[in-house]
Symmetry: C2
DNA sequence: CCAGCAAACTTGTAGCTACAACCATTCCGG
DNA sequence: CCGGAATGGTTGTAGCTACAAGTTTGCTGG
């Protein structure tokens, strides 16, 4: 364990232990709440939410994958299941025949409305309300730094900046 | 989306979006590195590491589950697989015949030694070295707050305090 | 001393994700 | 205008986790 690699000192280890615990415990807790309340995973919820904010409640699979931090295969499977449940519909993109659009159905919109309050309450309870206002800002900055290290090219920058500005209907990408 | 539930304001939403992205991207990245380098998941690595620090390199399943933030069924499956690979061995606890001990084998110790440098380097690269010293401490405090909200009873307190003090061989619980 | 409950697991199975392979379009250079 | 390479997706499958159920051992009150 004490190799010639720079090990973590006590303070760094403390932080890492905490982060790993949060990584392990928080997603499951949020998934459980959401599944009991609305039979949705947090990932499915996020996908529906991202569609709901898009113009025409429609996004191309690639765009939705970016906004949800998912790989395309994963998203494809998830959308297939959501489609079977009638919450989303897929149709070919008119402008690019190899692309597919996903659109939120009325039923999907209703499901999102039903699920949102409980989910927001859970996020508040376990994260936002557990922190001071200062810590909330610190968390955002720490997240920025980690994400920059994970993805130096800034591919996901669409997402990370999306909530820094007023929504702009013309920010469709190439 | 704008129900009678207190929604998140812009700054809170920023922080939450970042955290969700980290939750989604960081575990997979660490798993990938570790699997390519040592054919281990981060969870398996952590389990081996916790055993390596225990007296006699041995822990009861329940104790190991607490230290790894895992449920018992999950841990049982994982240890079964590690046992098949010869990295861990299970044997009945002498003092309590319904309990099971898990002990790190020599092979498991060797595997851990081989895997550790690369894993620590990854943790540094994506988290520790991406942050300022101040942010590292902020992260620890934020983690504390979120974990307290997730588990008000402080069941996992063994883990959370474990790295605040010098190791004490007599901290075995009831 | 024994009935019932709790503790400490193990096992079975359904569901989700990662990875790899595959297919259909589109783009681009010669 | 045509032969790759790149883009945008779907599908198949192995592996891991969650949940539920079952088993054995230990504890506690009457």
């Amino acid at each position: 364990m004490t190799a010639n690699t720079p090990w973590l000192d006590r303070r760094q280890l403390r932080a890492w232990i905490r982060l790993r615990a949060v990584l392990e415990l928080l997603p499951g807790t949020l998934d459980t709440q959401l599944r009991n309340d609305a039979h949705l995973t947090e990932f499915e919820y996020t996908a529906l939410a991202m569609l709901s904010e898009a113009p025409g409640r429609t996004l191309r699979m690639t765009g939705l994958a970016q906004r949800t931090n998912a790989t395309l295969p994963r998203l494809s499977h998830v959308v297939s299941r959501l489609e079977k449940r009638g919450l989303v519909e897929r149709f070919p993109c008119p402008e690019n025949r190899r692309a597919t659009n996903a659109r939120l159905t009325e039923e999907g919109w209703a499901k999102l409305l039903q699920a949102a309050p409980g989910h927001v309450a859970a996020v508040r309870r376990y994260v936002i309300d557990a922190l001071t206002d200062e810590q909330v800002d610190q968390l955002a900055a720490i997240g920025d730094a980690v994400l920059a290290a994970l993805d130096p090219s800034g591919q996901g920058a669409v997402l990370y900046t999306h909530y820094d500005e007023e929504p702009d209907p013309e920010q469709d990408s190439a």
